[in-house]
Subunit: 321 residues, 2 copies
Amino acid sequence: MDKIWDNYKDVKSELDAVISLMEKNVKCKDKKIENSIMELIYSGGKMLRPAFVIIASNFGNYDAQKARSLAAVIEMLHMATLVHDDVIDDAKTRRGQETVQSKYGKDYAVYIGDFLFCVCFKILASSATLQSIKVDSKSMSRICLGEIDQLNSRFDSKLSVKNYLNRISGKTAELFSLSLYTGAAESGCSDALSKQLWKIGHNIGMAFQIIDDTLDYVGNADSIRKPAASDLKQGIFTLPFIYAAKKDKNTFKYYLEKESFSDEDVKNIILLVNKHKGIVSAKELADKYTKKAFKLIDNLPENPYKMILKEVAEKLLVRSY
Amino acid sequence: MDKIWDNYKDVKSELDAVISLMEKNVKCKDKKIENSIMELIYSGGKMLRPAFVIIASNFGNYDAQKARSLAAVIEMLHMATLVHDDVIDDAKTRRGQETVQSKYGKDYAVYIGDFLFCVCFKILASSATLQSIKVDSKSMSRICLGEIDQLNSRFDSKLSVKNYLNRISGKTAELFSLSLYTGAAESGCSDALSKQLWKIGHNIGMAFQIIDDTLDYVGNADSIRKPAASDLKQGIFTLPFIYAAKKDKNTFKYYLEKESFSDEDVKNIILLVNKHKGIVSAKELADKYTKKAFKLIDNLPENPYKMILKEVAEKLLVRSY
């Protein structure tokens, strides 16, 4: 379990229960399948999304069994999208470990992702309401559409901040929003409170993804545990690049006309993005989302979990960068 | 619409409504996505599974809106599995048309399949009961596990009829059973009747897949609209092969030790399978399932749709082979 939860014993013990529940639900005769999913479960992610479900559920009438089920579903939906993303990206490692597709083959990874989707809806049908299933499946459609949009816009020279924000809204913020919303709505919180938590998730998610995208331009393989500049090499232009390209259209034109980048190109682009303050501008926008998130958190009703949410958001969004 | 429905105007008009419903549900801003799914919808399949939902729903209190939604879901789940299967099989064509993965790329096909899954659960949450969603997601898990089992057993020399039957039970029969069961259960048929329809679907599905698998050994690309012997080339050993290999272990040993087959190998194997009456034996087992299906259909309560189901099963299973 990630050390981010060390100070929150109640959240941590619930997350342990969520892990047990996931283990129970992916048990199957085929041990290869079971083991490959178990590896995903133990792969050391932060478990932010299930934690958000637990936290939001505590704003209503906390029903442990229900909250844990919903949390397990959200984490497994997240796992399913990661497995399929790795197929698309041809990724060799994730979180420092070999990916399902690299270890067992792409074919296998496609079906493992599908199997995880099915398990999620099976759990939902046993523990959630029809309304929640509707919200979940709509969210998942938006996530898929976001991923497809990202595919379609690879090496697309028509850059726009708006398109980028739309893309990360689907790709990342959606599942953060869903986590906080579902926890609230299914524990009987009012519509207004559930929607407020949805918005908090959205703003945390947007800030989180923008910050993550700046790491491609400043980080190295050690500190972010993924190959630096991986998005760039795939022709995915993120916010620091977009801001920099706006400031120096002529120089970036050369790169925007290319259909693949050499290591030398990547190095030059990183220098250019820094020179034109692409990272600084991106951080400024991340800050706006962060502030919005904190303002919305401050307006939540008094509850011990309000402080937890605030502290976790601080750890995620105000980390050293 | 396939001519199999020409004599059944009521079923045909409901299937037209199912197509409209699918069109409505896959509408989205991204026209590329919408068009690629529309192509799947119009690609000229028999629409057996949605027709089974419609037929079974008529054994209860027929609610057109509900029956059409469930039928659309089953057809789209089927489409999602086909899209992902084509990714795995690297298939260039299906039903005589270029596959999504061949036309738009594998990456795109993975997400299109995922998007279809999400749309299915969104429709289910609006039109079905939690119980149905549970049954559907369990069925879909079994289908995924069946596909993974098929992947795992490629070029596996430990052949067994039992494993083969398990595999096609998950791969094909499950969705046939689910179609008839869901239609019945959601239109208020008794548990016993719903289960009887499940069994009918199972037996039709088993016979259907066995017959389809014999076509790899007798058919040609024209008559079955898929490259002959495609399964064999991928190391998927179906019933005619398994029966023949049991009769002449020594000769087949040579082929079972290989990890790929040349065109010459495939030609020789087809000759051997015919020589050892693999097709005849497979047809005999298909006949058993067919007879079981007809017996179960005969025991259905009197209803105009009983005769339709029987005639359709005859067309599918007693076709010239």
